[in-house]
Amino acid sequence: MITDNAVLIAQSRRGRFAESRYSGRAHILLERSLIAFRNSAWLAVLSGFFEPVLYLLSFGYGLGHLIGKIPLQNGHVVSYAMYIAPGLLATSAMNGAIYDSTWNVFFKLKHDRIYQGMLQTSLGPLDVALGEIGWSLLRGFSYAVGFMCVVVPAGLITSWWGILAVPAAVLIAFGFASVGMGITSCFSTFQQMDYINIAMLPMFLFSGSFYPLTVYPGYLQGILKSLPLWQAIAMVRDLTLGIVTWGILWHVLYFVVMASVGVTITTQRLTKLFLR
């Protein structure tokens, strides 16, 4: 039904899926993000693309000389740049998603009260959650494509499986963005937001972006392998280096679970904050 009567539009959702929480208009939030991006946020988004490229240049080139080749679990050896490229891709997908879904969300939630404005219209909390997370995915996707444009010509991708690193990066962004937004919607002060930074740094340093976890004792490896960033890096690395087994589906499942838990928490928190 095509109408420009707000009430009839809302009525047409009667009996549909989650009618009181979802109006089927999550894409309008993408439209909003796109306008905001054009206005001012483009610099922040663009900078996220340079981050992995600079790391690749600095570490891949400079440290590569000192480190030499890295042995993989299947017996092959690869150059240091080839080893860290997937790690950097996964990390930038994570960083972009986390930046959007934590600090940006916090500002919209507490400072500008933008979600309050959205939820006084006929939009529902699920629209808001999906729309905001969707923007993170779009960002994750464009970072991944941009990074591929650097690493493929540089000869750092050796397998056709590498193309799948792009959707993998989107899935990673999905997982981190939804959990990030869920956690942020539970926070009320800036000080609490620091917990996110505190959790991010060790994850960044210890998830095997820069060296194989085999430098650590076995029990520690086990703990580190349960962290989402390790899961992300392992998934992307398998793809870019072409060592794909059915086992990769475990990583996929990990992020699917992460994403659905995050979306559920976010929707519930937004409902609690603005609709009761």
Binding site: S40, L43, A44, S47, G48, F50, E51, L54, Y55, L57, S58, F59, Y61, G62, L63, H65, L66, I67, G68, I70, Q191, D194, I198, L201, P202, L205, F206, F210, Y211, V215, Y216
Partner: protein, 274 residues
């Protein structure tokens, strides 16, 4: 009700003219005290995490393949650079946030300026307070480097004052920029991603600057981080630098500090007069 005394009786203007900056420092330190638990844990966790991850983790690969860098174990090579990075990062955090806040967010600098305290004194006060935090964090950092065996002799502790010098020099300069910035939206992001990160990655932090291609080395030459790291490496493990370069490194930091201070003073005074 008692008649009001003239404010000149209770306000010692001469004293403020001499020591006004210290009141600003006091104000900032009171704020910092509230965050002491957070600041302390960050000051301890940061060096631990970086030294274990990069110093030990990446170090294991490098030591195995190349036997270390510059004649020493990788951690020894890396530690002075990380120490200086932390000093600079701490100084930037502590000048940028209060400056943006004071001029734009809560406009507290305008309130301070309506007392006899001048813009120049506010700038000095903010920088001094930030250097108090730098001293605190860098001392912890140095101690942890020492525990990891990063100093080969007692002389290594002198890397703390050289890092401090870089923090003061760059802190003053960036404080001026923060006072000048009209648009604060993305200031932290631009500073972090377009200034700090390239400096961190291309100042010979993780390997010698000379192993970079020549067209990337200029970043290091401009970077206070490279100059202070060279001094730090000389002090901690006897990295070879010529007498001339020694003077260049020190001279660069001193010049940056004096230029930075003059720049910051001007920006503070101009912005307050607007």
């Amino acid at each position: 009700m008692a008649a009001r005394q003239g404010s000149l009786v209770i306000v010692d203007v001469d004293r403020i003219k001499r020591h006004g900056a210290l009141s600003v420092v006091e104000g900032r330190l009171l704020v910092l005290l509230k965050y002491i638990p957070g600041l302390t844990s960050a000051a301890v966790a940061n060096p631990f995490l970086y030294l274990i991850a990069i110093g030990v983790g990446v170090g294991k690969l490098i030591n195995a393949h190349s036997g270390g860098v510059d004649g020493v174990k990788y951690l020894t090579f890396l530690a002075p650079a990380l120490l200086s990075t932390a000093a600079i990062q701490n100084a930037l955090d502590e000048v940028v946030f209060p400056t943006l806040e004071g001029f734009k967010w809560n406009k507290s600098f305008f309130a301070i300026n309506s007392t006899p305290i001048s813009g120049r004194q506010i700038a000095n006060g903010i920088l001094i307070a930030s250097l108090v935090r730098v001293t605190f964090s860098v001392t912890i950092y140095g101690t942890i480097v020492y525990l990891f065996g990063g100093f080969t002799s007692i002389r290594g502790w002198l890397a703390i004052p050289t890092s401090f010098a870089a923090a003061a020099a760059f802190g003053a300069f960036i404080m001026g920029i923060a006072a000048w910035a009209k648009n604060d939206d993305s200031f932290f992001m631009v500073l972090g991603r377009f200034v700090m990160m390239p400096l961190f990655l291309f100042s010979g932090t993780f390997y010698q600057l000379s192993s970079m291609p020549i067209y990337l080395r200029w970043i290091g030459w401009l970077s206070p981080l490279w100059h202070t790291t060279e001094l730090g490496r000389y002090l901690t493990y006897g990295h070879h630098i010529s007498g001339l370069m020694f003077c260049v490194h020190i001279g660069y930091l001193v010049a940056m500090f004096s230029f930075g201070m003059r720049f910051a003073h001007r920006q503070f005074e101009q912005r307050l007069a607007k």
